[in-house]
Symmetry: C2
Subunit: 444 residues, 2 copies
Amino acid sequence: MLNLDLSNVAQFLPGGWRTGQEPGLRKAHDYVLGGTGAGGEYTGWVRLPADYDREEFDRIQKAAAKIRSDSKALVVIGIGGSYLGARAVIETLTSNNYNLTHKDGPAVYFAGNGLSADAMNEVIELVKDVDFSVNVISKSGTTTEPAVAFRIFKALLEEKYGKEGAKGRIYATTDAKRGALKGLADKEGYETFVVPDAVGGRYSVLTAVGLLPIAAAGVDIDALMSGAREEMELLAKPGMDNPAWQYAAARHALYDAGKRIEILAGYEPSFRFFGEWWKQLFGESEGKQGKGLFPASVEFTADLHSMGQYIQQGERLMIETVVRFDTARSKITIPDDPENVDGLNFLSGRSLGFVAEQAMRGTILAHVDGGVPNILLTAPARDERSLGGLIYFFEFACGLSGYLLEVNPFDQPGVEAYKNNMYALLGKPGYEAQKAALEKRLDS
Amino acid sequence: MLNLDLSNVAQFLPGGWRTGQEPGLRKAHDYVLGGTGAGGEYTGWVRLPADYDREEFDRIQKAAAKIRSDSKALVVIGIGGSYLGARAVIETLTSNNYNLTHKDGPAVYFAGNGLSADAMNEVIELVKDVDFSVNVISKSGTTTEPAVAFRIFKALLEEKYGKEGAKGRIYATTDAKRGALKGLADKEGYETFVVPDAVGGRYSVLTAVGLLPIAAAGVDIDALMSGAREEMELLAKPGMDNPAWQYAAARHALYDAGKRIEILAGYEPSFRFFGEWWKQLFGESEGKQGKGLFPASVEFTADLHSMGQYIQQGERLMIETVVRFDTARSKITIPDDPENVDGLNFLSGRSLGFVAEQAMRGTILAHVDGGVPNILLTAPARDERSLGGLIYFFEFACGLSGYLLEVNPFDQPGVEAYKNNMYALLGKPGYEAQKAALEKRLDS
């Protein structure tokens, strides 16, 4: 389904770079599939495209249909993996301007992923005069950013629709059994969906976490899951012809050879937030114990006129992974100009897609010539099935990669550091000693 | 006006790191101010905030007023420095959702900065049924992406308003005297504005290149220029207490100490494209001869839940520069919850801005503890004057930085590589030999 082209990698690596990694990959593959490696308790995403809860999936589709029929806007409250996957899929499959261009379904506004009062006031302004619903996504219900946003949008809903009316417009995606949000939802009677214990935030896009907002935006989540399932079946087979093995092997070998940055490049503006999702997936899975490729992303050809210079001639620390969609959705034919003012009449009658394709081929060769190894991943089309496949491909390859790097690809111990400092500075009960110590440092 | 805090840098550097760089900075300062260093012919931006063309500035304001009165949309056609500055300023000062939330003025759509047919068709759909104008920005008029877009939107305007009507809706920002676009504009009678010879694309935001779209969006460009001018006057004074010297010295010393990535962090979603502008400025100025800090950007606190793990515990190659706006625009007060479901009642009655401030302070300490040097730049407010100052600060510091690194901070030789390959693969006359060679490589 996906096609992985590593022809522009080998020249940067010693001979035998593939076969040398086979034992490590075999072990990693078993860890991922069997849940027997570090963090194995978080490998619930591996079989998810086949083994998901059909009853819940059906409720997701019904809830999405209800939201589409009774709401002009959906406020999705969540941070990190609780918004990036949904935003990535919605934008990639529709447009980075979804909220300008959507027709039948609701606008989808993401809130509770930061602490900007201006941004929150903006969402309030956008929804207060229209019918809207809220999907609050938090395993615990106590993470600061989404919890604060939920206090505010819950109050707004209750003011608008009354307490009873609001209940029918709040969807809580949270722990199946425990936690603050689960407790509240049960007490109030919100419809609830599950953040599974065995699936970490950055691997959660194909659970209710991602699927409810995605479906509410009109995306065919059945096709998304089928695409993921097909890829799952392909990647379950061990061996060096497994494209996830190849991708993991290539990036790991390049890391061993001294590369330190991986740039994900797309040629569609709608792909920007897929890059953000991918950065969380790889950065959070691998960036620990002082290791890992630093993940960055670019939008070509736009960024060939900004980051292009650095990529071509800056520090030689980068590898580039290009995601390409094989079939265009729409077409632009370049008109002829009888006076050929811009000198581009050699393109008259050509499609813009043809030009984009040559730009991509030319850029890959230019970057390779400049010393940047290139990995090219082609998906059939910018559609649900391909994107489901891409998501699963990167998730699986990321699990393998983490194990090759000898880290736990499923934890994120470093995320606590800022939270603890923030709680202390905010005066959270129990953090008194830390607060005093931090303020002393800040005042000095 | 701006405040630069380097208190979290020194511990990562050898003693005397500041004074050791004084001679280099003094030389760089003279190069930048005098135009006597490499690329000195492109230092026209240095005195721009004081010496700009008042007659043209006045015409820009009149054109902007006309666009605001006769257009519901403005299509800005340009790539690289010909769109990033305008987009950065408009979004930072209004919202990253400007096109959803703008009230009096036109929507501003950026086109011709890529080769996606879907993205271009989307802009066509968004403008075809409303009154719109076009600002085409290209020094030569022959760069592929904007030239193709201009063919299409010019035809759309002529179809809608007739050839005569279209002329009054096309604004060409281009070379003062020569080039394909200048020739066409003169012949057709478009109003023209100047891309000065002495100002490169990435330093052009305070010329007509940036100012016309910015003013059309309702931003006060007088205040923007005043802010830049104040900063210009401050930074013109040589010495180690010059904040641009300090920023350049710190990042250069950290580069010498082995750091390879600089992350620009903001706490406002509207700041995202300022990060893109900044990446072009520094990446394109410094990323050459195998040198330079790789520029990346993040949006906090959102990305503390995606890139945060890597920043805290991944490879120790990063420095972090935080841009903070001192005064909030709007306020959110966190409501009390009698049942304290989320356990956040210690924040009841607090403003969200207070929480954001503690998050920032806590994050800086956490990252410093994790081995990431931190530079904190505080601007008074998210307003025109501060942003003008920030733009000039980064431009000036970037010039100094480039000279410290012993590169030409004003050229971009690497950008030609992809273009030449693309032209060859597209069959541009004169590239026949290169085309054959490239296709042979691609087929092998």
